[in-house]
């Protein structure tokens, strides 16, 4: 082998990438550079404000300190419980819709191109629209309040859960399904006894992950009037009571940390 390399003419020196690959990469770097330059030049930014930012942040920090802890038991706690309900109910709702959609999206369970495409389109639309935008929509439908928030969280989660679960279903080993088919199992039995046990750990871990994300997301839904902590925060910001904002931010931080601990604990038990 080494001989042939040594004997090869100079023009055949080993190269890692072909000319085409090199050109594609160079073109990509160029595109990135041009995109960044163009964005930097044309974006509507007043750069003086950026240099002023540290000073403004310090000012905000001074206004936030000390946090108005007395505010927590009065209003923040109830809002926190509301946020928790919104996130949990939203996750439960999404489960109801995501299960059938993921079955329709998995091409090994539903061997029908049209249905697959339909389910995938639904899932993509659900994921592309942000939960805050969903909340805007449902505030218009149900009126302001936590109900709109819970439905918004559910609609945003369907796409996420459905996509990941659909992928998990497509990866299920064919052997178990074939055995069930050979025994004369119906489609329902195949799903219940073939697919479900195989994706069960993945399903619960997806739900836990989404619940964790939903707790974070539902804390901001109130900014558009969909209930929870965001509503209290909006009120505090609008009245410039930054020491109350600080309490709310601390609450959110604590909830996120607790959520992470709970999720890690359950994940270890489940999987």
């Amino acid at each position: 082998m080494s001989e042939s390399v040594a004997l090869a003419p100079m023009s055949k020196v080993w190269q890692r990438h072909t000319l085409r690959q090199k050109m594609a990469r160079t073109a990509l770097w160029l595109v990135i550079a041009i995109a960044v330059m163009l964005s930097l030049r044309s974006i509507n930014v007043i750069w003086e404000f950026l240099w002023d930012a540290p000073e403004q942040m310090m000012d905000m920090g001074r206004r936030m300190w000390p946090p108005d802890m007395a505010y927590y038991p009065k209003t923040v706690h109830a809002a926190l419980m509301e946020t928790f309900h919104i996130a949990t109910l939203g996750t439960l709702f999404s489960m109801v819709f995501a299960l059938p959609l993921s079955i329709l999206a998995a091409h090994n369970i539903t061997p029908h191109k049209g249905l697959n495409l339909f389910a995938k389109t639904m899932l993509v639309s659900s994921r592309s629209v942000n939960s805050l935008v969903w909340a805007l929509l449902f505030v218009a439908v149900f009126g302001p309040g936590p109900l709109a928030g819970a439905v918004a969280i559910a609609f945003r989660s369907i796409g996420f859960v459905g996509k990941l679960l659909g992928e998990a279903l497509e990866e299920v080993h064919f052997g178990a399904i074939e055995a069930l088919k050979a025994a004369g199992a119906t489609q329902t039995s195949q799903i219940l006894y073939g697919y479900w046990p195989a994706v069960k750990p993945a399903f619960w871990s997806i739900m836990l992950l989404r619940w964790d994300i939903n707790i974070r997301e539902s804390s901001v839904l109130g900014l558009v009037g969909a209930g929870g902590l965001g509503m209290v925060m909006n009120a505090a910001i609008d009245t410039f009571q930054w020491n109350r904002v600080a309490v709310i931010l601390l609450t959110i931080f604590a909830v996120v940390v607790i959520g992470e601990v709970v999720v890690t604990f359950f994940r270890r038990r489940l999987i």
């Binding site: 964005s39 218009a140 439908v141 901001v220």
Partner: protein, 271 residues
């Protein structure tokens, strides 16, 4: 992973063996979840009556959304260009900043005094929703695209930084040792030992983050941080639901295009 139920099998008498039967713990848990759902629905003052009225509203709402109106297309276009600029800049600077932070935070390369501050930064960046960070930056740098870029830079550091840090911790140390044995300085160890092992995954994270930033840049506008979100929120407040639908359709289309583009980029880098 052990088979579920495998250890419970021998204890059941052969005649009454029930595969796939659920234990009483599972049934109790399901009951508790159902009870909680009912309780929480009551807390969110969800009633059948309100639901029906909501459906009524929803029908009217939908009928006002169709057909989507593109007559304000210039507003749509400027909003989207700004959203894309925000996404490009936030991804670029976010990835640029998260590279050194991830290397500092990798426990297999760095001593403890370097890893824990880096990890703290990443955790703080991940803790708060981009909308909340955007509100804080709006206070610091004023309304407009800059606040959006800064908020999404923070979100990008939280996501790319965390995943990249984990990727670096999973690399093979043999190559690092080999590079170190030649007497290479730290920077060379990083460029020739660490980066070649993780560059593929980094490209994956970056394309995902560009996608995520594109979605989120539509959201930060709702609180006044620039981009299409501002136009969306304004359209909601003016009850121009047909324009809302036009914006939503465009968001979904752009996100889909972004997904195709990121697949293409991944192909160029052979990920």
């Amino acid at each position: 992973m052990t088979q579920p139920g495998a250890q419970a099998f021998p204890r059941i008498p052969a005649g009454r063996r029930q595969p796939f039967h659920s234990s009483w713990q599972v049934k109790l848990l399901a009951l508790l979840v159902a009870a909680y759902a009912v309780y929480a629905l009551g807390q969110l003052d969800f009633s059948y009556d309100r639901f029906i009225r909501g459906l009524d509203n929803g029908a009217r709402f939908l009928s006002r959304m169709f057909p989507p109106s593109y007559k304000n297309w210039d507003q749509l276009l400027t909003g989207f260009i700004e959203s894309m600029e925000i996404a490009v800049l936030a991804t670029f600077f976010g990835v640029l900043l998260s590279l050194p932070i991830a290397i500092l935070g990798a426990r297999n390369l760095m001593p403890a005094w370097a890893t824990w501050p880096a990890r703290l930064i990443v955790t703080l960046c991940r803790a708060f929703n981009p909308v909340i960070v955007a509100i804080v930056f709006i206070k610091a740098v004023g309304f407009g695209a800059l606040a959006g870029v800064l908020a999404l830079v923070v979100a990008s550091i939280g996501f790319v930084g965390k995943l990249f840090m984990e990727a670096i911790e999973e690399i093979s140390m043999k190559q690092i040792e080999a590079v170190r044995a030649t007497g290479a300085p730290f920077l060379s160890v990083v460029t020739y030992g660490v980066l070649p092992q993780v560059i593929g995954r980094l490209v994956g994270f970056c394309t995902y983050q560009l996608d995520a930033n594109l979605r989120n840049s539509t959201m930060v506008g709702i609180v006044g941080a620039g981009g299409i979100g501002g136009a969306l929120f304004a359209a909601f407040q003016r009850f121009e639901y047909d324009f809302v639908l036009a914006i939503l359709i465009t968001i979904i289309a752009v996100v889909l295009l972004g997904e195709f583009a990121s697949n293409y980029v991944k192909r160029i880098f052979h990920v």
